[in-house]
Symmetry: none
Subunit: 305 residues, 5 copies
């Protein structure tokens, strides 16, 4: 598969990575309907773990089966499928060679209110399962953030040595400075993306930022410097800028959407702002398969467009 100029340009930004890590990044960027465009659309399914199985899958009981999600990611022509250990083990042989996979190495659950996550996998398992990379979540702001980062730096080092890429979910949460609105404030979101970039992430996952400004010291700067955060596209542009001037790939979730139209508008704005792509889980598997395929097709076209 010949790399497109856009994919080559992106790979050049990862100048210290090994041939093996670059090959895995290339596999991801060349796969599926967005293959070669430099854009990515990834299906993550860890909500059973995070919110419980019925809350996640009862609306579409076929989704209780881990094979369902593999097939969805393959049939929709997505870039990759990301999930915890147990779910990937269920289908790595049957479907693993048809879609790049990412092993999520930590996960929270809703039975606890501790702002941390449990380690649920390892770089070694990701290699055994033939994944292109690992996923890991940090909660900037949380009291557990520093130890999450300590562990992340070990994982990223191990992953690079094993030729795997690292995808970091950087979700501001808790701590002394962040209220609920602060968790998606644009200054906080940009900060979270920057932290992940500095940790050595190849791909960064954040939530779409609101126009709220949270930290007083930051607020002053945004106002003094007249940073344009008036539209979601402008805010996405700012997040990309905060991720090493666009040298790192950044994916966004769809946020909490009331209907599909606003979801598509969200992704269109993110695309307009230069976002690398999207990660979309619940909206995918909590509807009928054919509806999900139609929705994903639209999102693919938005990012292709």
């Amino acid at each position: 598969m010949k790399l497109t100029p856009e994919v080559k340009r992106i790979l050049d930004n990862y100048e210290t990575d090994s041939a093996a890590t670059k090959a895995n990044l290339a596999r991801l960027l060349m796969h599926g309907k967005l293959g070669g465009t430099g854009k990515l659309l990834i299906l993550p399914v860890d909500q059973g773990m995070e919110h419980g199985p019925a809350r996640s899958f009862a609306a579409n009981p076929a989704a209780y089966d881990p094979h369902y999600h593999y097939k969805m990611a393959i049939d929709a022509g997505l870039s990759a499928y990301a999930a915890p250990l147990g779910a990937l083990e269920c289908g790595a042989v049957s479907y693993g060679n048809q879609i790049p996979t990412i092993l999520k190495l930590n996960n929270a659950n809703s039975l606890s209110d501790i702002k941390n996550q449990a380690i649920t996998g390892s770089v070694q398992e990701a290699a055994r399962l033939g994944c292109v990379g690992i996923g890991y979540t940090i909660y900037p702001g949380s009291d557990y953030c520093y130890e999450q980062m300590d562990f992340l730096q070990e994982l990223i080092r191990e992953a690079k040595a094993a030729g795997l890429i690292s995808v970091v979910w950087s979700y501001p949460r808790g701590g002394p400075f962040l209220d609920k609105a602060g968790e998606t404030a644009v200054d906080i979101c940009a900060y979270a993306a920057h932290i992940a970039a500095q940790m050595g992430a190849h791909i960064i996952k954040v939530k779409p930022p609101s126009d709220h400004l949270c930290l007083p010291a930051a607020k002053k700067v945004y106002e003094d410097q007249k940073i344009d955060i008036s539209t979601l596209a402008k805010r996405a542009e700012h997040i990309m800028q905060s991720s090493f001037a666009g040298r790192r790939l950044v994916l966004f979730s769809g946020g909490e959407q009331t209907n599909d139209e606003t979801l598509y508008n969200t992704f269109q704005s993110l695309k307009d702002g230069g976002a690398t792509g999207a990660i979309i889980g619940r909206n995918t598997f909590q509807r009928k398969r054919e509806d999900a395929l139609a929705m994903l097709e639209k999102i693919v076209n938005i990012f292709k467009g």
Copy 2:
């Protein structure tokens, strides 16, 4: 021993496991009176550790002797015998080749109210004792849950590398959201089973769920989606579904029973709902040997039926 089609079907669900791990799982599934049926009945004896020796064994003093339990599991034609390190070391040479064994790697005790467990064994010891697998308990909801899970992922990885299976006791306990009723609520029980599945457990152990719903967010979903939890059979079905659409084996304890009749009814309902089988400890050794053998025979027949 030729694998039955049912056992083959089950093994196919463990598609990423090594030949050695699959062989141990097959040994378990082909052993005893339920051998080949895809059902399991396991004798666990860790109550001396968990509640103290007299509370556990005074009703039937023969049970103070670890050999008693090996012999019971063998003579009753059970699938396996599970116990902590000391007890298995007492009989692994004399009886280990007559019954699959599972080394429990952590255990609580009643002298503490910390909602955690002590590590009492290792994968290395399980291999040395010729066990088919390891057992480990997590307390979803507890403040120790995340660190229990951190350690569990290491153990499961090690166990797989050593060709052993992993049995996870997933017992919701404590934390900010669970009261006593919540610990056996059907939404919580389904969630606990799902967490164990995602961690990579081969076999999951839960308690029989009540029709209580605990988490408000979950309650809403169960009601909106009209998930049928009216009978124990239906609830067992839901637990199996939450364990990767039945791709993982799930065992149930008998719950706290007043008499044998309700115990048999419980197991009959669980069987009707598709449960893989049962784990039954106290009810076994706190009665005379011949009574226990008769009771186990009945339970075997329920799951065979």
Copy 3:
């Protein structure tokens, strides 16, 4: 890329391999113009090392450049490109993601008459360079054969642990029983393929066998049992049979050919006998690029046919 039934059938023959190793085997089997057919055509370039640079490349000086061979394998739609360390390092970043590569871990050279090979790479390097597998040559019959095999078993073990496949060149050579004719005798060739299969090779490389029978004890059996070795197709069938009844993939070189027509006839016969495919080096790069592309296209069509 959806696996074809034929590729699935092949993967099922590697039932104890990890998901990662199977994924690499699938990548190989799904790549290029033969992708999905279960057949393979691989370009090996180690002749500069084995025979010297001028003998290898002077007929087509563009071939002195390692990039030339990467491009040839890619443009001809071959299944993979195999070469020693230095050559792969020259292009692994530029071309590595466009074609599966195999790192050859040992190589002979023509300045010595020792019937052995030097170690020229490692599994670790193969992983760093993003290869799908390793290649290694043994000389059954040679006085060095046992130590070559000792080392091969270590490499295959390491490769499997790293999720890589192993390709074994099994070339009978020297020793007390083999004269020149014996090195391609059908009984010897079948024996060499079987040795590689027993060592755990995923793919076996042999030379096309002549109808000569070398070992007296074997000769008697072939004659008594009336094993049909009258045509090359029949002999290829016998080699496949000797490779675990076709459960292992076997590639053939073209032998020493006088002209292209006999080369195509050779491959057609091998194909008719069930051969997995071919490895063709010198014949590829010792002619003009356009001629090589035309020749490879014909061979692809023979194996597709």
Copy 4:
């Protein structure tokens, strides 16, 4: 590059270090416009991580790009560039051979009020990126100080084994005895420098000390012994003295300055007191490139002078 007598004199102070570590220290001391003078001027850029990207870079948006800082350090003829992992990975191949680099191994962030730092890199990564050394921050006084020091001793040991130098940012913070004024009190600053020296740091980074005295027991001694702390130059002299009588190199930040004139005066005083040089981050990249180059030129001349 022939070592100057001054650089030789400095290297002699590191008499137990390996040739490799000394060579890296020499590379640093011989590089840039201050090369050979025994003075150092280093550009550190971790403020995006510590204060957030917009607060750090919005005043000069070109600075969002990690390449900007590499180029600044090179074009200004500085001694070295120090940054966290992600930023160095972005340019280590493009610029790494034109400027000595220091990998910062821990970093705080402003979303937390925990007086600790996250581990964000490793000695192994510093070696892979071709850095001359590692950087690490400790917070003497903080509740985390002992564990920070525990880890620092491991890192310094590893760094020495890898032939790298260690730069320790020793920033008193928090704990039972330090109020805000205490954090830059001269007795505390001297103490912090001494702790870093005792840990085995090759280069120590402190803030310019005020004439405040914080610890009562120390205060008494400073007064009794009439230690002259009346001018910044005298206080710098005292810090150097506290760093093994000047046998260790000590760098100072510019402190929080209102304008460039006071900044230059600060550095002139520090120079007069024998300071090894300066580390200057925010003041560099929060102004236009040409202004930054002019400012750095002046500071170079102060330390040359």
Copy 5:
């Protein structure tokens, strides 16, 4: 030190090396009077080991002192100094930071007629001494060649992991096919260079080839293909071509010269043929210092020219 376009072009040929290895290669290529030209002139001093001290140094007794050679390489503005362990240990602290050094890891001596070399150093020592790389000699053709190569592949792997470059002296010697004339025959020299390139060497050292052709099979090809080997320049061109079409750097010794004029002519011819540069030992230290400096200046100018 800003890389010149020529040096950048060369570094691009080493596309799979780490940032650290590339930085060491850049240090070498940017150092000394040839810095930035893409050419190299290296002083090797292992003749005391190879031929005995008096044979090596009696003509210029100052050369008994290892410091003499460090100073020579520095004062002559050479690219690097290469020597065995003991000699480098004598001056690594005094001079190591003024000149890139290469630790020779094996050496022959004249008290034995075994066509092998003793291991005299390690990658670990090279790192401890702050060297840019390691040096290692193989004797293609010798009965020891395969085991020399086995060990070389380990060393090169270790060196790359430590960020060091590898310089391979590839000296055909002995074995069944090489007589004395054959050891410098152009076909053999090209073959030896190619073997070193395939082993993963960054820099290859060979002797200037004669117009002799040694191997019959090769001779036929050179004649049939009319490869021009009529002048030393043409032969140098052929050696470069055999080293991955010039993608690897190749250094030549001066050969056995009767006077300086022929030496200069030799280097001029090699330069004209595209040689990367020269390694010149005995001719340097077996004359007076001022004469040696004058000679080296002339050679520098030849390669600059």
